[in-house]
Each structure stands twice: as C-alpha cells, then as structure tokens.
Amino acid sequence: MTLLTRIPGLTLKNPIMPASGCFGFGREYSELFDLNKLGAIIIKAATLESRYGNQTPRVAETSSGMLNAIGLQNPGVEAIIDNEVSFLANYDLPIIANVAGSTVEEYVAVTKAFTRTANIDAIELNISCPNVKEGGIQFGTDPTLAAEVTASVKQASKVPVYVKLSPNVSNITTMARAVESAGADGLSMINTLTGMQINLNSRRPLLANKTGGLSGPAIKPVAIRMIYEVRQQTSIPIIGMGGIMTAEDVLEFLLAGANAVAVGTANFHNPFVCPEIIEALPEVLAKYGFSSVEQAVGKGHEYGHKDLSRT
C-alpha cells in the first residue's frame, strides 16, 4: 500500500492536508501532533497588508456543518513569511501558500513575496473567499476575470499555481476550463457555499457579517458533484475538499477525481482528525480494492453514463 501522491510541485507522503483557514499556520496543532505526519499544509490566506477581518460573531453552527465569516484576518504576507513560514520550514512538510487579494496587482505582489522564499512549494490562488466585500470573489465567479488573474499570478510565480474555485457559480466547469486555459497547474475545490442563519430571538443574522461560508459534511455532495464534473472536462490535478471527516470520505473524493484532499471543518470537531484519517486510509483503500492512492483517482467515472446531464 502506498499513499504517495505526486501533483505539480508537490511530492506528498500521503494525500491529506489541512485546508486553508482551518489550521492557521500550523503552530497550534504542532503542539498536539507531529506535523510531519501530514501530506502537506495549506496555510491561512495571505493579503499584502495585514487585515483584522470581520466583527464577531464569526462562526455559527448549522445542520451537519457551520458558517464562517472570518474575513481573511492575517498579519500580511511579509509577517507570515518572517514568522510563520520560517517556523514551518523546520518540518519535512510541503507548504502551499493561499494567496488572496482584491486586485490583480495585489494577488501578483503576494505571490511574488511568497515565491521569493525557497520554502513555498505551491500557491493556492484564492479567488473564492465569500466573506469580504473586496476579497476576490468577483474573480471567482467571472471566467474572464478568473483567467486574467490566473495568468498574471502564473507569470509571477516560480512554483505551481492551484486555483481555488468557488462553488457559488452556475457552471463550475466553465470556471475550471477558463483557469486551465490561463495556465493553472491544478485546481483546488471547493471553497464554501454562501449561506446565512437568522437568530429567532434577535431577529437578526447571527453572523456579524450577515452571510458566511457554509462548510462541513453538509456540502460534501456538492463538492463531489463539482469535482466529478470538472474531472470530465479538464486534465489538471485537483485538490478536493468540502466536508471530509473520514478516510471513507477521502476515497469518495479520489473516486470523483481528486488527486489529493484537504480537510477543513473536521479539524474543529477533532483537532487530531488529519493524523487519524492518514492512519485509517490504507485499510479503507485496501477494503475497497486499491493498493495505492493514485490507483483510486478518478475510478468513480468508470461505470454509468459518461457525461453528466446538466440542469
């Protein structure tokens, strides 16, 4: 059984990595378990300048999931490089830097800052944060803008670029094809679905930002469907995410066409979930007839109709 996973820029001991924003910069979790167990780490989104983010409350629980509206709080890319990337460089752990911005110039500047350091192995281009007014979501919902920012960042980056897609679009494959044509090395999908919860007592949205991004098992079927569709229409690798809680969930993502996966909300439920999934994965792969991770990728497409009908 081998969990080895190779995707552009990344040779992963296993296909499991914590998702951006759900693991900070790894520091807190490094006190709980050895980060070297992880396949990689996707660090919290960076912008050019520091951002405080939204007012609180920033999270709310939902059925089988949660809403968040943190608002890209981060100390700015230079502080992240100086204080956080330097810390993570002590580990045998590929680092994927999540790059956010509100203009093409900002995305490019953050990317350049990251790729000046030798310690970043790949960029995750965040064109899908739903929680800030000027946070790049317009790039994530318009294929022309998505292609434009992808091409610019790709030109500025010395490492492979994975574009993180928003599910808040009517046709995910159009977005995926647009960024693939613009030079994306891979895709990362899906980000959160925009949602809202209203408190009965206060008669107001519970989150201070009113809307937030829905994550957790509630969105897993959406993620699986979108990855399945995109796998049929693009050829670049996919880091899949959206509600993964167990090793069985990981296999489902692999079958849908993901090459590796990220675990997000589950870290809040169980801070040890990543190492636990990594430990359970070989047995689950074996149980369903696979002897490696790579063997399972895309195997959910072999039966049934070749193309999905589109509604």
Binding site: L32, Q55, H269
Partner: protein
Amino acid sequence: MNKTSVTIISKKIIAKETIELTFHAEGYVNQISPGQFIHINVGNGSSNLLRRPISIADVDVDSQIVTIIFKIVGVGTDQLSRTEVGDKLDILLPCGSGYPINQLELDRALIIGGGIGVPPLYYLAKQLNKQGVAVTAVIGFQSKDYVFYESKFKELGNCHVVTDDGSYGFKGFVTDLLNDTPIDYDYFFSCGPTGMLKAVSTQLKNRNGYISIEQRMGCGVGACYACVVPTNDGTNGFKKICKDGPVFQANEVVLV
C-alpha cells in the same frame, strides 16, 4: 491541551436551567488553572460539529474530579443537558489561559460574577482562599430561581447575592451593589455577560483586575480566528479568546 474521553459521575440541577456535571479526569487535573475551560463535543458523527466551550467550575486534585456548570441556552447546551451519569464525554482540556494568580501579590480579592459567569470564579475563589487571600464575592443572577453556589462561596469568605428583580438578596446589578457597599480589595476578578463586564471595567477602571469573556468559538485552540477580540492599546492588535484568553486584564481588550 489533551483530548480525552471522560465518564459523567454526577449530574445535578442546581438552579433553573442550570446543570452541574462532574467527571473523573485522572492525570489531567493538575494542569488546570482557574479560568480555563473544556471544549466539549456535544454531538455524534456530523451533528453539532462545533465543540462547546464550558468553563471549569471546580477541580478536586485529590479525587481527580472536575466540575462544570452550564446553563441551557441553545442547541449545544440542550444536547449536553441530556447526558446522564455513566455517559461518556469527548473533551479537550485544559483550554485557554486562566487567572494568573500565582504571579500576583494580593491579600484581598473581589470576585464579581454574573449568571453563568459565576462558575469559573468558584474554583478561582477556592484557590485564592487556599493561598490565604481574603475573598469577597458579589454574584448576580436574573432572579431567585437562577441563584446557585451562594453557600459554597460563603464557605470561602463574604458573599453578596444580587438579583435583577430583587427576588433574592440585593436588588439591581452587581455594579449597583459595588456602589452601595464599600469593599476593600487589591484585585478584582470578574466573569459574566459582556454588558456586565463593560459596566464593571468602567466602574473599576482605576483598579487592578482581570475579566473573563466568552464568544462563539470554532477550533478552541487558536487556529481559526473565530473568537478574536481587539486590543485596547491603539495598535489595531487582537487577542484570541480561546488561546490568549478567556481571561484578560481589565481594559486590555475592547469589549464588543
């Protein structure tokens, strides 16, 4: 911080909608300082994904027993209230940073608690009392039905009970009693609703003190930035309530 499974050994309704649970936490209790909390998984599988932070009300080092007290205020605490003696709880402990009483020099402490902010102050008062500090507690509740732990605080020193409607003890808010009753103290320690903490911090702004605040949390370990609070020093800084707090120096953070 550790993740462990504990078994509930007692469950008591100690006031209206207010429940006290105890459990053995063998090997973990020596690490607990007053003001810290446990982060409880109240769901099963994919329901109630977010853990609930509940403050630690008491610790008995000899028997290795931890006491928590919570009020049923929502889905999570309702779920927790349905657990029974013998049930297992999946918890993270101890979480956050407590009251730094070992670093303080004091002879007299004023404890100011409001509602479900009272529990962590009990373990604090007990530890202060053990160190020879004279403790005066002022604890406020909505009404008589919600009052708890009066006699336990009385075992440790003076205790004034305040109710909003005057159905028990002094009528009004804790700050009204502080205006009305002169109390000598070196440090105050407060926990309760944000409105109360604001009023206390404002009224006692020239005194040394610590407050404990609550907020909806995500991870509970300092990674997700859900429960941040701005600092008061004009630097646009922030603190994470789950990791840097929930205890802060009074006026260190902006209460919102």
